[in-house]
Symmetry: C2
Amino acid sequence: MDHTDGPRPRAVTIYDVAREAGVATSTASRALSNPGRVSERTRAHVVAVAERLGYVPNRIAQALPSGRTGLFALVIPDITNPHHVGLIRGAEAQAAAAGHSLVLADSQEDAAVELAHLRRLASFVDGFLLVSPRAPADELAALLHRHPAAVFNRPLAGLPGVVTDIDAASAQVVRHLAERGHRRIAYLRGPDTSWADGERHRTLAAHAAEHGLEFAATGHHPAVLDSGAPAAEAGLATGATALIAFNDLIAIGVLQHLERLGIDVPGRVAVVGADDVFGASFCHPPLTTVTSPAELAGRALVDLVTGTAPDDPVLPSELVVRGSTGPAR
Amino acid sequence: MDHTDGPRPRAVTIYDVAREAGVATSTASRALSNPGRVSERTRAHVVAVAERLGYVPNRIAQALPSGRTGLFALVIPDITNPHHVGLIRGAEAQAAAAGHSLVLADSQEDAAVELAHLRRLASFVDGFLLVSPRAPADELAALLHRHPAAVFNRPLAGLPGVVTDIDAASAQVVRHLAERGHRRIAYLRGPDTSWADGERHRTLAAHAAEHGLEFAATGHHPAVLDSGAPAAEAGLATGATALIAFNDLIAIGVLQHLERLGIDVPGRVAVVGADDVFGASFCHPPLTTVTSPAELAGRALVDLVTGTAPDDPVLPSELVVRGSTGPAR
DNA sequence: GCCAGTATGGCAACCGGTTGCCATCGGTTT
DNA sequence: AAACCGATGGCAACCGGTTGCCATACTGGC
């Protein structure tokens, strides 16, 4: 019984309800969606008829005049990243609670794909939730001109957003390593289109300088597990005793590669990640990382785009010390 | 510049294009969406004008007469599960390739929520992708009456679907354990509304019998990490030397609990999972599990619901032996 | 130069709701 | 009894596209 071809069987419309109830369509409409406008008697009658006929309003038809669908697009650079999964979950939950739904769009770390998604979905959705968008600011602004949007981890002029407290996180990471006696640290960079990567780079360098540590950076590396091997190699080549990865995916990849090489973690080199994704607590050794309240961020994005939250909150982010960091050799 | 209240600024419509191009709206419409129907000269002209004005068709308006939005609802019992993440990714990719988009709906393992999602999204989407649906078959059938749908891991009369080859997987698991000398095995059950759980239970029991093994089952356990502790306790209480968890989430939770208890895996007890999720290869010890081609399943669901794939394929599923299983003590 | 046939463009209806405005009705007030 | 008022219900337009059908213009054949 699949109706993949041909039009779907016709559903009950408000015209059917009105006819059956013996009232005008306007009255039927008001009885259902603007109850104060008709008498209680008619309202009850129309509702009863609608119920009996199994009437369900056609939301496309409702959306046409109002322009509101109750749909929001969630645009993500990489669905694969477990960190983003937390954000999806939070956003979905918050949207559902408000009677909205999310349309999912994966831009595969590609600015062009991202912009294409915005264009394609623009007339369908009431707003956009942009997770670390990769496209240039001016092109984003041009496309978002007539839509509300909320942005995660990238300040964009005129758009509300949430960011994680990258500076505070970097400060904690550097202090932690300095206290353990590390004198030379390396940052394994993430995607070059990532604002967060730039921030981590900048703030790590600054805090390293404060502590009098030598600082090196390698990359950019794609934010995937497979970047672990090249990132580890590049990191080791800098002579650092502590490797700070852009995120946990890369960090876990680094751990795997170091294990293959027989390099002891944290004995010979310390490794730090970011995001505290699923798996960070039970990889080998458990990963010292920086939390990122992804679920909270997802909820905040929905609140921002629906106008029920203050602008630009900074989400707390803090160091979780596990087994992958220890005293410098 | 957020337009969260008040109507959005008016966009360019096809009427604007037609007027500007000096043709009738019907001609403008055909020039853009039915090019064979107008002369090349007018087509080019209209297209140029549309381009210049920045015209983007209003997809809601397009959807109203046709009833087709190009949106498909992906209904999932639990977005949190990394296994489902793979499926989401596959489905999203395949949908995007065909110019469609996905609306995400998390039913939180709750049949009522699941049905509510179906009702709420019905008039918006062209079809449903149901991942291990939890609701009773008759209620699903009633709601899906006028919509195509494709189902993952649950045969439903009249609906196309894909399932993983649970029987083959169970056979491999039991043989593997029997060969290692295990004589008594226990299955740590998943959610009672899960069809896959019933199948795993049935097939594991059957294959255990074939091999002359004693078989016990515990649960139902929710399919989350935190089920690990109670599931491990219940499993150990059966006296089994091998614990087969409903999925990797539970299995990893079991590993963590056993580690806390100081019980050696695989020395004292073997643990097997299912799904081969992110993390299964690097938890401690690495988990012996059964693959589930989630991404493939996601793609297949999209193909099924758009009518571009054969019905009811069985997806291969096979054992990956890692460190969590070994010879019986 | 006339006619048939085809290519092209336009009118208007339709998808299924919502809503501004007007007509009517019943009940009060004077 | 006339005038007035608020409550209620209906007509028709509108949201922005697509499409069936008809009119016209243009083509080639004789």
